[in-house]
Symmetry: C2
Subunit: 149 residues, 2 copies
């Protein structure tokens, strides 16, 4: 019997990726890409260690998923990410025609929503608020600690 | 005596990159990043060969420039790119705080301008239309040929 795993299950995996970022001194954001209930990519923010602004969790996961699946379109995939994607990541998700996006915490200052729904592909479904508090807490704790340094 | 090279000079290099893309069957877009009159990165679109929607010329050039310069901010750099950047690339250029962007042809359908100037960092200067006809011609010729296939 195949039991479909819920959104919270995969968001917990994305949170575990965010935790890896935190431990490396990176802004703690994590992402997981799932296709037919199978995890095809997982990644965390690595902009500091790679000196690369494009190394957001979503971008690394997109590239890994496309490599794993052997095609650049991810129409049958869901991205789970702990934070609302930024415009760069939303633009990449548009190009990938990703089937569904589930994010945890919102990002009013740097998220894509400021620029409207058209940032994403018209067929992409979006949900948010899954494990919202955990996703927000790990970020708030990180930045609070930074300010104390 | 150091002679400052003009925008056309570097746009010709970006066009040479676009030509490499065309020869590989990729949408012909090329980019060059220049810092204090020195080319620190050059790249062309490789989305097909890499099966990766994020492998736009600008993204590859950004990553290469940051690697070469050893830092992720490109405030003293100019990006020369043959086509108006898409929202993904504009988002990446925002994060990199690039000093200046010079593009050749406009992209009314897929360019970042649809979403407004705020897609870019407030300090980034933008110019366009340099070698406009050449930059547009290589793209139009590519797509015209595709439609004939």
């Amino acid at each position: 019997m195949i039991t479909a795993l819920g959104d919270e299950h995969f968001m917990r995996m994305a949170l575990a990726e965010a935790e890896k970022a935190r431990q490396s001194g990176e802004v703690p954001v994590g992402a997981v890409i799932v296709c037919n209930n199978v995890v095809v990519a997982r990644a965390h923010n690595q902009t500091e260690i790679l000196h690369d602004v494009t190394a957001h969790a979503e971008m690394l996961a997109l590239t890994a998923a496309a490599g794993y699946l052997g095609g650049k379109y991810l129409t049958d995939c869901t991205l789970f990410v702990t934070l609302e994607p930024c415009p760069m990541c939303a633009g990449a998700l548009h190009w990938a025609q990703i089937g569904r996006i589930v994010y945890g915490a919102s990002d009013d200052k740097r998220g894509y929503c400021r620029f409207g729904r058209e940032m994403l592909h018209p067929k992409t479904k979006v949900e948010f608020g899954v494990l919202h508090d955990e996703c927000q807490d790990i970020l708030q704790h990180f930045f609070r600690k930074k300010r104390l340094w």
